[in-house]
Amino acid sequence: MKSDSFNPFAMAQQQFDKAAEFLNLDSGTRELLRWPLREYQFSIPVRMDDGKTKIFRGFRVQHNDARGPSKGGIRFHPQETVDTVRALSMWMTWKCSVVNIPLGGGKGGVICDPHNLSQHEQQQICRGWIRQLWRNVGPLADVPAPDVMTNAQHMLWMLDEYEAIVGEKSPGLITGKPVGMGGSLGRTEATGYGVMYTVREALKLMNVKPENTTAAFQGFGNVSQYALQLYQRMGGHAICVSCWDQKDQTSYTYRKMSGISFDELMSIVDRFGGIDKTKAKDLGYEILPGGAWIEQDVDILVPAAIENQVTAETVQKISKKVRIVAEGANGPTTPEADKVFEDRGVFMIPDFLANAGGVTCSYFEQVQSNMNYFWEKDEVLGKLDIKMTSAFSDVSDLAKKKKLYMRDAAYMIAVSRVAQACRDRGWV
């Protein structure tokens, strides 16, 4: 790619520079954190099904491990670039830091398109990746996880190759394993519950009882589903949820002023979070246009679908009643909309805090794997509550103290914790 084109790593660095400026970091710390600590780029020769050998490019970037072993996914992408991987690994560092789990940030991948590869060839790539990198990853060094176009199967192949090489069982090497094969219970619920734990804390700050609030959800995937479930258990009153309709190739908002029900909706939702329109109608839901969720007169908005949903345009439709926006999705709010929220004094729970339940649960998986002792679901979710609650209060305290917008406060905390660790270790 040409140097003048869009570069995600350059963007991540810019974002960091802003925080560094605010935190008044010294130049050494800035220089250290602007770049990954270590980068591995290597070749993976694979004997293809037709007998020919093909060489694949593999990556692993460890941005920072001052706070603990690196953590981050492995992507299979045909046009992966090292800059993308660098940007994502830096993002992982901040994400682990903001929820205060003892992990650093990493990311990796292989340039390949699984659509052009058989299962057997993919397995060879996974094993080849580990053969090249087994000295540099490990339960206490760098812990990979599934990401774009990789899944639990790929993780098991990698784990198996690693264990074969080191000669012992080592389930903590990797996360995203199936339950029963070293995976953790509660992963399905983790992100959604995490979102709602932070909402609960925000309401506490405002001295509002959940049972006196209403909420609208965008999207009805895992995150939204379990956020809704917990919200209802807290006594909250959800009135609508929007979701994509695969058949009509558009999205709809399903509204019931008397309150939508998690159990009811779960009985008519498909695996992709698509609600059956006809059945919803039969159950008495109003069917409104996809964008209607944002216009509702509610206290809480949970955008938990895709990025760029709250824009300069749509933010104008948001009711004045809205007091909390909890970002279940990654990047649902554009900077222009952020500005509006800040001006209006809307309480923003930024994505990398709100949806940190996922990475926290991965951390729990790793912990359980290392002990080879696995908790019941309630124990996982209970520990998640503690982590999320304390992460939230750290961020909200800082926001309050320094009069920061929550998103900025979260970022400050994340960066400062890492910077502190580097300093404590005497690196800078």
Binding site: K2, R75, Q79, T81, T84, V148, N151, G176
Partner: protein
């Protein structure tokens, strides 16, 4: 024996008597076994031996009376003290054996004789009788042997006897055989024979050279001298000198045999022979020449070719292939399942011909490829094609035959009546009887009634899906089942007169072809699962893969579309469901690889036959599996378990109640030889038939069944476009030479071009995302299926969006074609996505995909046109001003003086070209073959345009307060199809009252026109007119449709108003 004899003495006496008897028997036995003893000697010996065996030998005498001869001991006197036993040979009493005492002896058990003596006599008589029988048989045998020997040694050879008999009884055959023998001798190089041929025509030399010379004078025919036996005699004299009698005899026998077959050849050669006689002739042949008998190869071929031509097809290519893979017996067997009327001359139709030949080829190829061993074809009965004509004349439907020449509107209007008429018709009794037999044969197994039209085997005309195929559950009483079968056949017959097939035929100049339709009544493959009947899976397979989703897949790797249950969902494209796609040459490369993709694009519905309601039904797979999953064989090879974070192949028992299942066919594809089998079938059939093929198949969990086979070129989607050679460079938009599929994308009015360099140079992520939003907006605005999307790299990129525009399927679902441009950047050419992100959506919606490699020497990408044509994006979507440099929207007719873009793709040549030319309706015939899909266009839009003009002319602008009347969209652009509406734009400036009046006036038109259009095309719409009313205010604001009035692209066209109104 006297009572007073003491017991010990009695015992001794008893034993002595038995010993005498035994000695007597031994002596006789000795004589009987002497092979050289004559009967006389034997009889004499017996008579002499007998007395010693009796209690009083001194006064004992014996006598044998045998036919005319009497054998006695010397001086025999008949006395009252005797006993006899008959000599019974072959159930006939030939004489007696008697014993006498010459004087009275004391009374014992049987007169003077002991009971043991009676038994002895009977035994001797039996032994003698069987000896006589043996002797008699031996003498007959010897006589026969001697006679035979004499015949060979002394009489004429057998062949001469036969020949003489022929000479007396069948003179024609005699002469034929003589001349055949002479010919044979000549070919064998016997000189005398060659000389003898001169007698046929002394002027003609036997010199082969003269025959081979290119003299223009026709050779004179040799005239056999009828009645002159001289040549015959000479011929056989020469033959007996050169051949053994056995050889001559065998030749004569073979030629007689051949002559007997001539009746069959004559029957076949006569095209007027009805099927019934044909069947009878083969039956006779069958009896006369059971398999294994020596029939000359040429006779066999001749027979076979005539049969194939008569029953299946007159297509030479078909015959040429079929004759190599069939024999008379195969056809005989098939004919036993053909229903025809006495005097029938019909054929079985294209579908029957296709499946029969494919089945034969596979059967005969098993030896070279064991994978083909268990391929079956379903049991079927056939109705010959002319039965439909008889059926119609029987019911006096004569006027229906002329139906095809009526207006298509009228045909459509009358079609429902035709169907009802057919269904209420009566079948000829012969057919009823035959169908009753068919039902007995099938019992209550579900059936499918398929059309097998004579047009179906004609190249380039694909009638797939044009005629009906109907499923029958075939349950209930015999009467009910018969009723349902008749109903189905009548409905299939009626489909000949359906508007769609007739229109289709009219477009291809096949209207005058005398359409007869055969019927195949085929067993539906499958098993029972609860109340349902279904195959475990079914699908279609193609030799050529025209939908490659990876550059690693080659065209020859083939394609399988496979679904659980009945194959209907794999044959047709369904808008809301997806079959599993597999390329048998590259089974490891899947369209869908992530867990989400695998689940989203898996089949969700299943077609089955409900045996309780007797209906064809579609169900959710989940629900069906939940209820009856355990009863479906091989189901564990079909489904996998969706574990959320990965997909797992089931191991052992599947819990259909609690597991989340997804159809993947993973087990079938990886753990069975199904793929190898299909590949083998495709390869074999493609090779033997000399053309890529298109198959339908089904699997009942045990066996693979081939249901249909036809050339792939007959499929709608796969027809290659001819690539014009002499196009001037400025008319070419692009060319492509890699991963090209077959087909054409005509009448493109708009190009959306995302400049790869400019897109790559965008720094801001928001701006990259806005390109996707811009495309999405254009997708809503531009005319559906009339614009092409061209852009860099990977459309639908999810991660790194700078590699390709981030869109989802809903953002592009109205496009006609998706193009990915791989521009070389530095030293590498980026990988393209091949549309993988929404590949199956594109396939099912028939949106075409093409990758371009403009930096690959030979290819053209007309950047002058793409860069320098006016970009109207700003005028159409002003809010995307910042993208003007990146996204170029080109109105093709505007930029190319009325021309549009046509994309022509030919996978055989691996070439595609997009050219500027007049709209299809105008250029048809210049470079395009008759269209394969849709309509010939012109009359649809012309009719609409005329209507629009008419409405404008009738509209009174003063009465309704109308300032302007415009037409736009497909009617204006000459691209309207049968289902298009008429887009009208009305500039209104009247009162609300006038507006209501105007709307109701137009609504009347709209309703009326939609009815007329339905009659013309069969396309139903509620309103034909799509009316958009704009006001001065709208125009001032440049609101939505008001833009059209003076639009930069695709502007609405004003029509003069009120010409007729007053």
């Amino acid at each position: 024996m006297s009572d007073h004899t003491p017991p010990t003495d009695k015992l001794l006496w008893f034993l002595r008597e038995r010993a005498k008897e035994l000695n007597c028997l031994y002596r006789i036995e000795e004589w009987l076994n002497k092979s050289d003893a004559t009967l006389e000697q034997v009889c004499m010996a017996i008579i002499e031996a007998i007395p010693a065996g009796w209690q009083h030998p001194e006064c004992c005498q014996a006598r044998i009376v045998l036919e005319d001869a009497t054998y006695t001991t010397s001086g025999l006197r008949e006395s009252p003290w005797g006993m006899s036993a008959p000599l019974k040979v072959f159930d006939q009493i030939l004489g007696t054996l008697s014993v006498y005492y010459t004087q009275q002896m004391p009374i014992e058990d049987d007169g003077p004789f002991l009971k043991e003596e009676r038994k002895l006599l009977t035994t001797i008589a039996e032994r003698l009788a069987s000896h006589i029988a043996f002797q008699k048989m031996r003498s007959v045998y010897n006589q026969y042997n001697t006679a035979e020997k004499e015949l060979v040694e002394h009489a004429r050879p057998e062949w001469r006897v036969v020949l003489d008999l022929l000479r007396r009884t069948d003179r024609n055959l005699f002469l034929t055989i003589s001349s055949k023998m002479l010919n044979y001798l000549c070919w064998s190089g016997v000189e005398e024979a060659k000389v003898l041929t001169q007698y046929y025509d002394p002027e003609q030399s036997s010199d082969a050279a003269s025959l081979l010379s290119d003299s223009n004078v026709p050779h004179r025919k040799r005239v056999a001298l009828q009645g002159n036996d001289f040549i015959s005699d000479e011929t056989f004299k020469i033959a007996s000198d050169n051949l053994t009698p056995a050889e001559i005899l065998s030749f004569i026998q073979r030629w007689i045999q051949q002559d007997k077959l001539s009746f069959l050849i004559k029957t076949l050669a006569n095209i007027n022979t009805p099927l019934s006689e044909l069947n009878e002739a083969i039956r006779r042949f069958h009896r006369m020449a059971p398999e294994g008998i020596d029939i000359p190869i040429n006779t066999k071929r001749g027979l076979l070719v005539s049969l194939i031509r008569r029953i299946f097809s007159e297509d030479l290519q078909y015959i040429n292939i079929a004759k190599n893979y069939t024999d008379v017996y195969d056809i005989f067997e098939l004919l036993q399942n053909v229903i025809y009327l006495p005097g029938s001359h019909g054929k079985l139709g294209g579908k029957a011909a296709g499946i029969f030949l494919a089945g034969q080829i596979l059967k005969k190829s098993v030896e070279s490829d064991p994978l083909l061993a268990h391929i079956k074809t379903p049991k079927a009965w056939y109705i010959s094609s002319d039965v439909v004509l008889h059926f119609m004349s029987y019911n006096n439907f004569d006027e229906v035959i002329e139906q095809k020449y009526k207006d298509v509107e009228q045909i459509r209007l009358e079609y429902p009546n035709v169907v009802q008429t057919f269904k209420n018709a009566v079948f000829p009794t012969e057919i009823l009887k035959a169908l009753s037999v068919v039902l007995d044969d099938f019992s209550d197994h579900p059936l499918i009634v398929r059309s097998s039209s004579l047009l179906e085997d004609r190249a380039a005309a694909s009638f797939s899906g044009k005629y009906k195929s109907l499923f029958l559950a075939n349950q209930g009483t015999k009467e009910e089942r018969l009723e349902a079968l008749l109903d189905a056949i009548a409905e299939v017959y009626a489909s000949i007169f359906g508007p769609d097939p007739i229109e289709y035929r009219a477009e291809r100049g096949l209207l005058d072809f005398h359409e007869e339709m055969g019927i195949i009544i085929q067993q539906v493959i499958g098993t029972k699962a609860g109340k349902y009947f279904l195959p475990t899976f079914a699908g279609v397979a193609f030799s050529h893969n025209e939908l490659r989703w990876s550059p690693r897949i080659h065209r020859d790797d083939g394609l399988i579309r496979i679904v659980p249950g009945l194959g209907t969902r794999a044959v047709d494209r369904t808008s809301d469901d997806y079959p599993i796609l597999i390329s048998p040459g590259q089974p490891g490369l899947r369209v869908n690889v992530t867990v989400d993709e695998m689940v989203r694009y898996s089949p969700k519905m299943i077609d089955v036959i409900n045996l309780e309601t007797n209906t064809f039904e579609t169900h959710h797979i989940d629900e069906l599996l939940h209820e009856f999953g355990d009863e479906i064989p091989l189901i564990d090879q079909i489904v996998s378990i969706d574990k959320g974070d990965h997909i797992q192949r089931p191991l052992g028992h599947i819990d259909f109640n609690s597991e989340r299942l997804v159809v993947t066919f993973e087990g079938l594809l990886t753990k069975t030889d199904f793929i190898a089998q299909v590949r083998s079938i495709l390869k074999t059939l493609e090779e033997k038939l000399g053309t890529p093929v298109d198959l339908e198949f089904a699997h009942d969990g045990t066996d693979f069944y081939l249901l249909q086979c036809r050339p792939q070129s007959h499929s709608d989607d796969s027809a290659p476009a001819s690539i014009p050679k002499d196009v001037s460079p400025e008319r070419i938009i692009f060319t492509a030479n890699r991963y090209v599929t077959n087909g054409r994308v005509p009448d493109i009015t708009h190009l959306v071009y995302v400049d790869p360099q400019k897109y790559g140079a965008i720094k801001d992520r928001q701006q990259l995302l806005s390109v996707g939003r811009c495309i999405s907006r254009l997708n809503q605005i531009l005319p559906k299926r009339q614009f092409i999307l061209m852009g860099p790299g990977r459309w639908g990129s999810r991660g790194d969006i700078k590699l390709g525009v981030s869109v989802t399927y809903s953002d592009i679902n109205n496009i006609a074609m998706l193009i990915e441009i791989a521009r070389q950047s530095g030293h590498y050419v980026p990988d393209l996505s091949f549309g993988t992100h929404f590949f199956q959506d594109l396939v099912e919606a028939k949106i075409r995909y093409l990758p371009l490699y403009p930096d690959d020497g030979a290819n053209i990408l007309n950047e002058t046109f793409l860069q320098q044509s006016r970009n109207i994006l700003l005028e159409v979507l002003p809010e995307f001003e910042q993208l003007v440099g990146v996204v170029r929207l080109i109105d093709v007719p505007q930029s190319a003086s009325g021309q549009v873009v046509h994309v022509l793709m030919n996978s055989d040549l691996d070439q595609a070209i997009a050219i500027l030319a007049a709209p299809r309706s105008v250029v048809q015939g210049q470079w395009e073959e008759p269209l394969l899909t849709g309509s010939s266009g012109e009359h649809y839009w012309r009719w609409r345009f005329n209507i629009a003009e008419q409405i404008a002319a009738m509209l009174n602008p003063v009465r309704f307060g109308v300032k302007g009347f415009y037409v736009f969209g497909s009617t204006k652009n000459a691209t309207a199809g049968p289902g298009s509406d008429i887009d009208l734009l009305i500039h209104f400036a009247g009162t609300p009252e006038q507006r209501r009046e105007l709307e109701s006036w137009l609504d009347g038109w709209s309703l009326c026109l939609s009815e007329i259009n339905y009659e013309r095309t069969g396309m139903k719409s509620e309103r034909m007119l799509d009316i958009h009313i704009v006001t001065d205010q709208d125009i001032a604001n440049q609101d939505s449709y008001a833009l059209k009035i003076s639009a930069v692209t695709d502007a609405a066209r004003p029509l003069p108003m009120g010409r007729i109104a007053k």
